[in-house]
Symmetry: D2
Subunit: 492 residues, 4 copies
Amino acid sequence: MTLAATSALPFKVADLSLAEAGRHQIRLAENEMPGLMALRSEFGETKPLSGARIAGSLHMTVQTAVLIETLVALGAHVRWASCNIFSTQDDAAAAIAVGPFGTEDEPAGVPVFAWKGETLDEYWWCAERIFDWSAEAAAAGATWAGPNMILDDGGDATLLVHKGREFELAGSVPAPGDADSHEYRIVLETLRRSLDLSVDRWTRIAAEIKGVTEETTTGVHRLYELAATGGLLFPAINVNDSVTKSKFDNKYGIRHSLPDGLNRATDVLIGGKTAFVAGYGDVGKGAAEALRGQGARVIVSEVDPICALQAAMDGYQVARIESVVGEVDIFVTGTGNYNVITTEHILAMKHLAIVANVGHFDNEIDMAGLESLAGAEKVRIKPQVHEWRLPTGRSVLVLSEGRLMNLGNATGHPSFVMSNSFANQVLAQIELYCFPERYPIGVYVLPKHLDEKVARLHLDALGVELTTLSPEQAGYIGVSVDGPYKVDHYRY
Amino acid sequence: MTLAATSALPFKVADLSLAEAGRHQIRLAENEMPGLMALRSEFGETKPLSGARIAGSLHMTVQTAVLIETLVALGAHVRWASCNIFSTQDDAAAAIAVGPFGTEDEPAGVPVFAWKGETLDEYWWCAERIFDWSAEAAAAGATWAGPNMILDDGGDATLLVHKGREFELAGSVPAPGDADSHEYRIVLETLRRSLDLSVDRWTRIAAEIKGVTEETTTGVHRLYELAATGGLLFPAINVNDSVTKSKFDNKYGIRHSLPDGLNRATDVLIGGKTAFVAGYGDVGKGAAEALRGQGARVIVSEVDPICALQAAMDGYQVARIESVVGEVDIFVTGTGNYNVITTEHILAMKHLAIVANVGHFDNEIDMAGLESLAGAEKVRIKPQVHEWRLPTGRSVLVLSEGRLMNLGNATGHPSFVMSNSFANQVLAQIELYCFPERYPIGVYVLPKHLDEKVARLHLDALGVELTTLSPEQAGYIGVSVDGPYKVDHYRY
Amino acid sequence: MTLAATSALPFKVADLSLAEAGRHQIRLAENEMPGLMALRSEFGETKPLSGARIAGSLHMTVQTAVLIETLVALGAHVRWASCNIFSTQDDAAAAIAVGPFGTEDEPAGVPVFAWKGETLDEYWWCAERIFDWSAEAAAAGATWAGPNMILDDGGDATLLVHKGREFELAGSVPAPGDADSHEYRIVLETLRRSLDLSVDRWTRIAAEIKGVTEETTTGVHRLYELAATGGLLFPAINVNDSVTKSKFDNKYGIRHSLPDGLNRATDVLIGGKTAFVAGYGDVGKGAAEALRGQGARVIVSEVDPICALQAAMDGYQVARIESVVGEVDIFVTGTGNYNVITTEHILAMKHLAIVANVGHFDNEIDMAGLESLAGAEKVRIKPQVHEWRLPTGRSVLVLSEGRLMNLGNATGHPSFVMSNSFANQVLAQIELYCFPERYPIGVYVLPKHLDEKVARLHLDALGVELTTLSPEQAGYIGVSVDGPYKVDHYRY
Amino acid sequence: MTLAATSALPFKVADLSLAEAGRHQIRLAENEMPGLMALRSEFGETKPLSGARIAGSLHMTVQTAVLIETLVALGAHVRWASCNIFSTQDDAAAAIAVGPFGTEDEPAGVPVFAWKGETLDEYWWCAERIFDWSAEAAAAGATWAGPNMILDDGGDATLLVHKGREFELAGSVPAPGDADSHEYRIVLETLRRSLDLSVDRWTRIAAEIKGVTEETTTGVHRLYELAATGGLLFPAINVNDSVTKSKFDNKYGIRHSLPDGLNRATDVLIGGKTAFVAGYGDVGKGAAEALRGQGARVIVSEVDPICALQAAMDGYQVARIESVVGEVDIFVTGTGNYNVITTEHILAMKHLAIVANVGHFDNEIDMAGLESLAGAEKVRIKPQVHEWRLPTGRSVLVLSEGRLMNLGNATGHPSFVMSNSFANQVLAQIELYCFPERYPIGVYVLPKHLDEKVARLHLDALGVELTTLSPEQAGYIGVSVDGPYKVDHYRY
C-alpha cells in the first residue's frame, strides 16, 4: 500500500498502518454488505455515476468506506466529511484516503475530512472542504465550483449550501441571535468567512447540484420544511423512509448497537435491570426488544397514543418518566425530540443510573442544563463515559456526552444494516443523477420496487429462500410476479 | 327479558335462554371494549347517526353485538347479517335480536339474519335481507327502498348493490361462466330472483347509500378496483388500513386467536413443534409471534423480499414450503392469496399435520383440490375439525374446512381487538354520514387524528400513562400538542 | 363397538356415542404420545406388568386413556378413578370403559369410576371402587383383597390405604375435629362405613401393595412426610421429580394450558394486559412465559430469593401482591401454598379482574373466605366461570371455582406433555413391580438413565437430531456414551 | 495514590495511571456488586477471615478486584494470580497491586501476579508465586510455608499442590509422556525446578491448607475425581453448583457476554444470522437466549436427550453440526467437551463464519488440528480475532484463538453476575476457614440457606420486592419462614 500522492488528504489520517488496519476491516465488512457488493456487480461495468461529483457528509466509518468505494466503482468522484464529531473511525478514514489499489502511479484515495473527536470548529471546517472541488476542477480543466450531488446525513451539507446562498443573496451573514446555539454561531462564522472570500460561491454551487439524498429523520424533516416553504433548491430523495432503511437501520440497527454501546461503555449487566425507553418509534422498538432480549424489564414512554398502545400490546409497561424515574437503572432516549430527560429527572435518578441517547441530537437529554447545574461535577471515567456527580450526592453515568451513544460508545450500526441503508443511498444517487426528469424539485421516497430490490439483494447472504408467485397468484392479488407487492401506504 | 314483537327476527335465533346467555357475554365484552363504550359516552347525547339506516354485514359475534348497540346508541337504525357462514355466535345473535331493554311495549331488538352454520344459499338470502327495509319504511311512513349506509366486511354487501344495479341496467343477469365459483352462481341466482321481482330495486338502493365503511383487506381491495375502473357508486372508507385496525386486528388479533383455535380444535402441544407460517404480513407476524411464544420453531414463507427480510431479522427461518413440508407439524396460511397450500403439498405432509387458515378465503388451501382427490376420505373428528385420510396412508387435520379457523375453531378476535376495529368503524360511519362533503366518491382511510383517537380511547383500560408534549416540544418537531403526531406514510 | 358386558362400568359413562367420540380422540392422542407408544413397542411382547393389578387415581382424560391402554398392553389389570371432581373427560372415560376392541365375546373395557362434575361424596365413592377387586378376584379364582400397585396423583388413593389401615388398627374411625375440612369429614365417613363392613380390609390391601408411583408435588410431599415419620407402608417412586416430568409437565404444560384455559373461559385478549403470577417455580415460569408470549406485562411474586432473582433476571417485575393488586387484569396462582390470594386482595382488584389457579388446591385463592363474604354474590357466566359481585360494586371472574383452571376450563396438559409424565409412570410401575429388591420401603426418584430414556423416546416425533458422543469424548467427560450424562444434582 | 512499597508487586503492573483507571472501574463495579458490599457490611467488623492466607487463582479482572478487597476487608491476607493467560485486566491488577488507600506509610496493595497476554511459562510462574508467602512469613515472624486457603478457578492452584506433593513423595518428577500436552510439560518443568530447591515444599504447603473453594465445572470435576480416588488432600467447596453461581454465572453471564464479545470482536449484525450453539446446558441456554434476543435463528446441538428435548421445547431447531454446518454464520461452543468443532467442520463452513468458544478449554474447537492443517494461514485482524484462510479458498474468523471469547474478546462476566459467584466464594471461604469441623475431607456444595442468602443480598439493587410467608403458610408447606424453601434436589 502506498500513500496517495494528493494534497487532498486530510491532515490527521495519512497513516499507513492505520490505513492497513482499516483495509482489513473494509474487506471483512464487504462480506457483510451484500447489497453494496451486488450493486458493484450490477453497475460496475456501465458506471451510471460517471461524471457525478458527490459531496458526502455521513459518519466516516468502515461501512461508509464500503459505500464510498461502491460510489467510486460506479463512476463517481467523491469528497467526504463525517456528520458527527465523534463518529469517525480513523482507520477507515485512513484506508479510504489511501485507497485500496493506491500506487505511486495510480493514487486511488478519496479526499476525506474526518477524524474521531473533532471540535465543532473543525467539524464545520471539514464540512466546507467537501464543497471545495478546486483541485479536481483544475485537474480536469473544468470550471465548476463544487459538487453536483450531495449525499447527506442530518442535513448539514444541505444546510451549508442553502444558508450560504441565502446570505450571499442577502449580501451579509446575520449576527447570531440570543437564542442561537453555539454550533449555529460557528455555522454563521464559517459562512461569514466564505462571504468575505466570495460573494457567489454557494450560489454557484447550489446551481450545479442535481440533488441530495438524505439519510436521517432529522435531515428529511428539514427538507420537507424547506420544500413546504418553497426554499428547497434541488430535488431530494428521502432515503430515510425506505422500508429497508427506516425499519432496518432504526429498529434492527439500534437493537444491535444499543446493548453493544452499553456494554462497551459500562460493562453493566443488563439482565435484571429496569430500563426506560423514551419513544416507541422504530428506534424505541429496537431498543426495547434488545433490552428485553438481555433480560431487562423495560418501561416505555410515548406521546403518540398509537405507539403507546403498540408498546402495551408488546407487553411493556408504558409510563411517564416522572412516575418511574427513581426505579430505573438505564435510561435510553430515542424520540427525536428535545428535553426528553431534563435536569430535574436526572436529579431524581438512582445512584449511577446510566443515561444514553440513541435518538438524534444531544438535546434529547438536557445536557446544557446539566452543564450549567450548580454543584454538578463531571468526571471522565473513560472516553465517552462520564460520571456526573450531582449535588444530591448521587451520580449518573452519561454516555457520549448525550450524543448518539451507538456511535460514540460502539461502532454504529453494523455493516449489514448499513448495507441496506447505503444500497438505498446508491440507488437514490443513481435516480437523481441519471433520471433528473423524474424528479422536479421536491422531496421523494424511493419507488417501492427499488426498496424491494434492496431487500432482495440481502436475502441470499442470510440463506433466505424467497417464494415466487405463480402468474395466477400474482393476477389473483393484482400485482406483477416481480413486484412491487404492496400498496404505497403498507406499513410492514 | 321479553321477545321483541317484530317480524324481523331471523328464524333460528328467537330463543330467550340463548339471548340471556348472549346478554351476559355482551355485558362482559363491554368491559373489554373501552373504545366503543367511550364513543357511547361521547356521542350518546348528540346522536350523530340519527337518521342513519345501516346495513351491516360482519361476523355476528358478541363483539359485533356491542358494535351494533353502539351504533343504535348513536341514533342509527340497523339490520345485520354475518359475512361468514360459520362465524355467527347464536347467543349473541339472539341477544341482539331481543335487545337489551326489550319489553312488550318497547321492543328493542335489532333485525339479525345470521346463525352458525349457514348454507351458502342461506348466506346470500341473509345478505339480501339487510337491504329490505320495507317494514321500517312502512312503520316510518317513508318511501325509501333500503339502507343509506353500509358497514361491510369482505365486500359482499357492497358487491350485491353493485352487481344488482349492474344487472338491472343491463336488463338481465348473465348465465354463470365455466370459471365461476359455486358461490358466485348463487349470487347470480339471488340477483336473478330479485330482477324478476323488481327492475330497479338495487338501482334505487344504490342511489340512497351515502357510503360504505369496509373492514378487511379483501373488501378494500375490491373497493380500490371499483374506484380504479370508475365503477364505485358511493364513497368508501377503508377502515382496514387504520393503524388501530390493521396492526391491532391483524397482528394482535391473530396472535391471540390462532393458538386459541389450534388448542380448541386439537389440544395439541404447540411447544417443540415445527410450525410453518405462509405470509409475513401483519397476520403472519402475529401468527409467528404467537407460535414462538408457545415454544414452537417457526418457519416463514414470503414472496415479498422486504417482508422476507423482516422475518429473517426477527429470527425466523425463511423457506419455501417445498423445502420443509415434510418436517412441519402445523401449517398456517395468512397470505390473502390462493393455492398457497396445494394438494401436492398436503400429500407430502407428516401424518396428522395440522392445516389451518387465518388468511381470508378457504382457497388459501386448495380445498377444492383436496375434495376432488381420488382416494382421499374426510372423517369428522368434531365440529370444524376433519381428518383427511390420504391415499398415502397418512392423514392431515384440516381446521374449519380451510376457512378462517380463528372464527371457526375459536371465537374470532377478542373484544379488545374488536373494540379498536369497531371504534374505527363507528368513527368512519359518522364521517361518511355527517360529513358527506368531505368525501366525494372514492376510497379513503380515516384521518390520522381519528386513528390516534381510537388508540387514545383504549389506553386507560390498559393502565397506560401517556406522556404529553410540552408546547415547546411540539413546536420543535412541528406537530400540535394534541396530534396528529406522525406523517401519513409513517409505518409504526 | 360393543358395550363391554361387565358390571364394573361406572353408572354415567356407558354411552356408545360418547365412547366413539372418545375413541377418535384417543387415536389422535396416540400420535402425540410417542413415549407411551414406544413403550408399547418395546414391552408389548414381554408384558412386564403381567400379574400387576393397578389401582389408578389420576385425572380421567384422553391422555390417561392412552396411559391406561399402555399399562394394559404391558400386561396389567387396571381399575381407574379420577383424582379431581372436574377433570374427567366423559368421552375418554366412556371409551376406556368400552375398550378399543370390545366385542360381546371379548369385552375389553377397563372399569372406570369417573365423570365430569362429581360431588365430593361421589368422588370418594369412586376412589374406594378402585380398591374393590372382588369381581376380578372371583373371576380369577383368587383370594386377594385388592390391587397390588397404586398409580396415584395427589395421594388420595395412598391416603385411603394408609388411613384405612390406621383406623382398622385403632379399631375405630375418629370423629372429625373442628379444624377438619368438609372433604376430610367425607373421607372419615367413607372409612367408617368400610370399618363397619370389614375390620381388616385396608390392612389386607396394604399388605398386598408392592408400591405406589406418585404424579404430583402434593402427593410426593405427603409421601416424604410419611417416610419421615416411619408411616410409609410400601415403596414409592416420586415420578414428579423426574426432569421429564417436572420441567415438562409443570413448565411446558402450564405454558400451554394456562392461556388455553383463559381463552376458553373468558375470550379476553391477553395482549396488553397486566398479569400477576404468584410463584416462580416451574409452574410460574411456564405461566409467565406463556403470558409474555401473548403480549401481557407480567409481574411475579416470590418468597424464595433465588426464584425471585431468577424472575428478575428473566425481565419480570417482582412485587408483592399488595403493591400492584389494583393494576392487574389477570391473577394466576402457582405456588402450592394457601391463601396466596386473600379476600382482602380480591376486594382491591379491578372490575372484572380474572382470578385463576394453576397451582394445586382451591385454597391458593381463599375461596372459603370469598364464599362467606357478606354481600358477595356468585353469578354463573358459564360452566366453570363465575362472576363474583363484590360489596364494593366491582366484580371479579373466578375460574373453575378456584380449582385448577387448566383442567376445569381447558383440557389439562396436552398429550405430548402427558406422554412424558406417563412414560415415567409406566417405567416407575415396571421398576417397583419387577424389581422390588431395588426399592426397600422409601421414596425414590427414577434413576437418571430412565429419565433420559423418557426424553429420548420423544425426540423423533419433534424432528430432533441427537448428537452422539464419540467414545473419546465420553471418556473425556467421564460418562458412558449412552449416558447418564449428568450428575444427580444437575439442574437442567 | 502512591505506589505500595513492597517487592511483591508483579513486574508489569506497577503503573500508577493504570492503577488509577482501575480504581475508577472498581468503584463503579462496587455499585454493581451488592452481594460483596453487603458481606463487607455484615462481616467487616468481626473479620471472620482474620488469619486466613488465601492463594487466589482466578481471572484478574475488575470484579475480582472487588472480591479481593472484600476478602481483605474480612481480615484475610491474599496473593493472587489469574487462571487464564488472556483474561487479566491490567488496570484492575494495577489498582489491586497499589491498593485503595496506599500511602508510603500504609502500603495497602495486594501481591498480584497477572497481566494480559501471559505466555504459558509466565502463567505457571505466576501460579507458583501465590504459594510463596516467604515475605509475609518473614514480616510476621512466622514459619509457615504458604497459604492456608485456596480460592481456585479451574483447579490449577489445587493441581500444583497435589502434583507437587505427589512428586515430592515419589522423589522425582516424571518425564513427560508422548500424550502430554505442551502445557502439562510446563507444569512438570515447574515442579522439577521446585523439587530441585526443596524436597518437601508442596508437602508442607498441602498440610497447612484448610480447604479450597472452587469456581468452575472443570475444577469441580477434578475435585470429585480426586475425592473418588482418595487423593483429595483437604476439604473443598464446590461453589460452581450453588444455584446463584451456576444458573447466574453460566446462564445469565453468557447471555450478557457472548453478544458483547461477538460485537467487540467482529461488529457483525447478529440479527438475521443463523447461529449454532453446541450444548444446551446453562451456558448453551444463555447463549441461545442472547442470540435469539438479537434476532438470530438459533440451532442447538446436544448429546443429552433431556437437554435436547428442552431445546426443542424452547423453540430451537436441534441438529447435528454435520447437518447444518454450511448454513451457519456464527458457531458457539459451550459443552465442556473437546473436538466439538473439528477441522472437518471448519472446512465445510461458509466464508467468514465466526467460530467462538464460551465453554472451557480451547480444545472445544480443534485448534491443534487447525494449526497443523496444511495450507491454512492465520491472519491477525485485531487482538484476539484471527482470520484463518483455508485451503478451500474460504476463511473463518476464530475468536480468542479458540479460548473463552467472553474473556478474551470482552471483559468476562459483568460485575453483577460475579457478585453472585463471588459472594458464594466468600461464604465458602468463611465456612471452610471458620467451621472446619463441618467439613471433613470431601467435596461439598454450600448449604441451601447460604445459596438463598446470596440471592437475597442481590434483590434490593434490582428493586425486587420479596414476599414473606406467614408462619401459617410456612407451616403449610413445611418450611421455616426464613427458608431454606426448597428440597436439595430442586432444579430451579
